[in-house]
Symmetry: C2
Subunit: 207 residues, 2 copies
DNA sequence: GCATTTTATTACCTTACGGTATAATAATCA
DNA sequence: TGATTATTATACCGTAAGGTAATAAAATGC
């Protein structure tokens, strides 16, 4: 896989970089939401004509899904990485701290695509809405699993409700997303994160 | 003001109740968001013809603003009421507890209009987006003031950062809104609220 | 009764939406 | 050079968006 396939392509060469275009599309969807992003704006930002976009990415929905994929693998990759910290406590700290930075990063739109991409919408965006909800659930789930793991390792008390705690952490992060959308600074988001973790459950001796 | 003005009106009488119609419009906006709610759907749900809606409420934006007003005075009135509890702690508890109930109430759309009404949007909804952000800030502000009040009454420590704590409480409630939108039950929302308040700042003797 | 006022109804306007047919262009293959 | 292939560019499609003109209908005032 390291040796690039250099077989010359047959037809007229593409004028744009596929990945760059997807990155730009991601930024538009991120800022506007799925419904709020029009194909006209997308063509202007990507600098690609409409038929070329459709040829390269399918339709608006597929373009969004591919942009979302890029989003999950890029700006949101820290979430899964955070779960690999040596303790659950550190994992949660890193998750919320990196969230604060990502949600207010100067080079990207504010907030979280999974939250503001299609929180409520018309009938035509229902599938996207479901996809985003599913992704939010997935991230809540990896948090829950990290907490469960900490329970088996006796880092956290056995009677801890890890599902509830994971929901709480997720909710805080999603609330931070809303705050970021309306302009909260990284420092403000960080102080939310800090307050959210003050009540970390102490380990009590099991039985 | 108690004696109803019964002066007969001159023209053809209205076929619909103004306030009922506004309530229905509120539910559509609440479920769909500002952009996701089409005038066509609104006419169908309200059971009123298009020109009658425009005559009664102005245009789509004004209709939304009036529906939002009704929302703030109705389903969200608990927020301001909660701030009148005898202690700040009780105020915050009541705020989040009532939020859990309101955000998952069976008779209304799930989630919060202030959050999902226009979190991200196209250029045409920018003013509504700003209005909703402003309302969220307002609610954060009444929380902050309640905390400040508790500081002057020595219920809370003098060095407490009430702005940060208010932001945290707001973020939790907004996160609960997101969770509610994707189907969280009242019990699940309540457990988020409970976890959020575990870390309530203890009073330390001042100076 | 008749004029007046207000609403309801029908039909329509302009604009923007997502999506495409068609043809021109630029490369490789033979 | 010519045939082939894939991507550009222009122009357009049908539909739905928000909003309105024009007219019919139902009440009051005289």
């Amino acid at each position: 896989m390291a040796t690039a396939e250099l077989k010359k392509q047959r037809g007229r060469p593409s004028n744009f970089d596929h990945d760059e275009a997807l990155e730009k599309a991601l930024h538009v969807f991120w800022k506007r939401g799925y419904e709020g992003a029009s194909m006209t704006e997308l063509t202007k930002v990507l600098g690609i004509n409409r038929p070329s976009i459709y040829a390269a990415f399918g339709n608006k929905e597929e373009l969004f899904r591919k942009a979302l994929e890029k989003y999950l693998k890029g700006p949101v990759a820290y979430a899964a990485e955070a779960m690999q910290q040596p303790t659950a406590r550190l994992s949660m700290e890193m998750f919320l701290t990196k969230s604060a930075a990502a949600l207010s990063s100067p080079g990207t739109p504010r907030g979280c695509l999974m939250v503001q991409g299609a929180l409520s919408c018309g009938p035509g965006a229902k599938l996207i809405q479901q996809e985003l909800a599913s992704q939010r659930r997935y991230h809540e789930e990896i948090i829950r699993k990290r907490l469960e793991q900490a329970k088996t390792l006796a880092e956290l008390p056995q009677d801890l409700n890890s599902a509830a705690l994971a929901k709480y952490i997720s909710a805080v992060q999603q609330g931070m997303s809303v705050q970021a959308t309306s302009g909260a600074s990284e420092a403000e988001l960080l102080s939310i994160a800090e307050l959210a973790l003050r009540n970390w459950p102490e380990k009590r001796p099991s039985s």
